[in-house]
Amino acid sequence: MPRYADNPEAIHDLVREKEVHRDVYIDEEVFRLEMERVFTHSWVYVGHDSQIPNPGDFYATTIGTQPVVMVRHSDGEVHVLHNRCPHKGVRIVGEACGHVGKYFRCPYHAWTFRTDGSLIGTPLRSGYEQTGFEDSHAARGLARVGAAHVYRGFVFARLSAHGPTFEAFFGESLSSIDNMVDRSPAGKLVVAGGVLRYMHNCNWKMLVENQTDTCHPMVAHESSAGTAVDVWKKAPPGTKKPMAVEIFAPFMSPYEFFENMGIRLWENGHAHTGVHNSIHADYSAVPGYFDQMATSYGEARAKAILDENRHNTVYFPNMMMKGPIQLLRLFKPISAGRTLVESWTFRLVDAPDLLLERTLMYNRLINAPTSVVGHDDLEMYERAQDGLRSDGNPWVNLQRLYRSDEADQRNAVTNGTSEWPMRNQFRAWAHFMTMTA
C-alpha cells in the first residue's frame, strides 16, 4: 500500500525543521519516489567533457538508477542520451567508455543512431512501411535527457524537460567549480588517474550529509588519522613529514578549528565547508606551481585563487567536490540501503605532476575500499542503516546550531559545525519530492 506516492503532505511530514523521519533513509517507496522526482527534476552531475575529447567518444553512467550515455557529437557538442535502444530496450553501449565512430549500432538488431540520438535506420526497412512507424516512440531514436549543460567542462543533466534552469539551480555555488578549474595555469582540468568505486550498504543521503559533517572527523577517524599522528610522533626528530601524514593529520584538528572554518549555504541544497580555512590549507608548497600560476594570472589573482581553501562543496543531490585537491565524489543511489560511491580525480593542466600525485594519494588514503578512513565512515553509515530499524525513535536529529530564520537566508555564512547544510539539503529534498511537473 503506497503511503507517499500521492500524498505530498505525508512527504512534507517526513522533514521537520530540526529532524527528519527515518523513512527518508530506509523506505523503498521513498527511494523510488526520489528517483522519479529528485533525480528527475534536479541537475545531476554526469561526467567531465575531458572523458570524451573526440567526436564519437562516449562515457556510460547512471542518473539516479537510469542508464545514460554521454557522447560527443560530430559538431563537438556533448549530448546526454538514454542508454536504451528504442526497439527492445537493450543498453546501446555496454562498456563504461569508448569510441563508437560516427554512429551507435545496437548489438541486438543493428538499428543505427547518430551520436545526437536520431535514428539512422533499421535493417529490412520495408517491414515498417505502412505501419505508422514514423509516429512511434521508436522512430525518435535514442531519447535525449530533458536538458544537458556543460559548465567549464563539468557535464550536468536534468532528466525531465521541466524543472529549474541550470543557472537558477546552481546560482552562486558554481564558484567552487570555478576555483577548481582556475587552479590550473591553463584554466583546464582533465580527468586523470582512474576512478575508485566503493560499495556502501547505506542510504545515499548519509554520504551526502557526511560531507559537511565536521563534528565526526576527530571522533570517527581517531582510529585512522589519530593512529597516523601517533605513529608519526615516534619518527626520529628531524624526519621530513611525509605527504601521507600531511593528509591524515588535519582530520584530528580540534572542534574549534572546524567551528572557525565556516560553512557557506546556497539555495537548492548546495553548500560548502571551509570558508575561512580548511583541512587542505596547510599542505607543503609544490615547487614551481605558484610561479606557473603567477605567469598565467598575475601574482595577485594567483594568490587569490590559491588562498581559497574550500573543504567540501556539496552539489545537491549527490555530488561533492574538493577544489584544493581536485577530487570529485559521486554518490550513486542503487536502493534505499545501497549506494555506489565513485571518487574521481583531475589533473590541473600545465601544473606539476606532484599535484596529481598528491590528489591520487589523498583518494587512495581516504576514499578507497581499502582506505582506513573509508572503513571508519562506512562502519558508521552501516550501523545507522541498521539502527534506524529501531522503533524506539523514528526521528534523526539535525538541529545543531539551528536558527529559525534559515529558510529566508541567501548565501549565508555560518559556524563550521552547524548542521544547517543538512537542513538545507532536506529543504531542497522536500521541495523536489513534492514538485508537480
Binding site: 566503493y198 556502501h200 589519530g226 605532476d353 596529481l356 591520487l360 575500499p369 581499502t370
Partner: protein, 162 residues
C-alpha cells in the same frame, strides 16, 4: 636460509610463511618481513605499470602499513569491532626471477583470499608478485604486488592484507 643465496625452497617457504602470519593475525611479525623501503601495492587497473600517477587501491610504504597494523588493535577502531579474519589459499609460488648477482628474486603466486567479518564472507581471486632481496641473511620484501582478477570492480570494505 642456509647458504649465501636463497634456494628455490627458501623463496617458496617465505611466501607461505607470509600468508600464514597474516592468517594468524601476527601482523607485527609480518611487518618485519618488509625491507625498510619495502612497499605493498594493490593496483586498480588491469596490467597497471605506474603507481604514482595512476590510482591504486593500495600503494603503501612501511610507515603506512605500520599505521594499519596499529589501527587494527586500536580501542576505538569500530570497523574492527568485531574483528575481521582472513584466509589465504595459495598455489606453490613460481620462481619468476632469480638474480643472485643483483640480489633480486621474484615469485608469482596465484591465490584465493577470503576476508570475513560478522556474517559476511568475501572471496577474492588474485596473483601476488613478491620482489625479494636478502638483507643480513634474511629475505625481505622489496615489493609485494597484489593483482586482483577484478581489480576494477566496486568493492565493499577490504580491511586486512591479501
Amino acid at each position: 636460509m642456509t647458504g649465501s643465496f636463497p634456494s628455490d625452497q627458501d623463496l617458496i617457504y617465505f611466501v607461505y610463511r607470509e600468508a600464514r602470519l597474516l592468517d594468524q593475525h601476527r601482523f607485527d611479525e609480518w611487518l618485519t618481513l618488509f625491507a625498510d623501503d619495502g612497499k605493498y601495492w594493490m593496483p586498480l587497473e588491469w596490467g597497471q605499470t605506474d603507481a604514482r600517477l595512476t590510482a591504486s587501491l593500495m600503494y603503501e610504504d612501511k610507515l603506512l602499513l605500520g599505521i594499519r597494523v596499529e589501527r587494527l588493535r586500536g580501542n576505538r577502531t569500530f570497523s574492527q569491532k568485531p574483528k575481521s579474519r582472513c584466509h589465504h589459499l595459495i598455489q606453490q609460488p613460481h620462481i619468476e626471477l632469480r638474480d643472485d648477482a643483483a640480489n633480486t628474486y621474484v615469485t608469482w603466486t596465484p591465490m584465493h583470499y577470503v576476508e570475513t567479518r560478522l556474517d559476511e564472507q568475501t572471496l577474492f581471486a588474485a596473483w601476488a608478485t613478491h620482489t625479494l632481496r636478502v638483507e643480513g641473511g634474511q629475505l625481505k620484501i622489496k615489493l609485494k604486488r597484489v593483482d586482483l582478477v577484478n581489480c576494477d570492480a566496486a568493492f565493499g570494505n577490504i580491511q586486512l592484507f591479501m
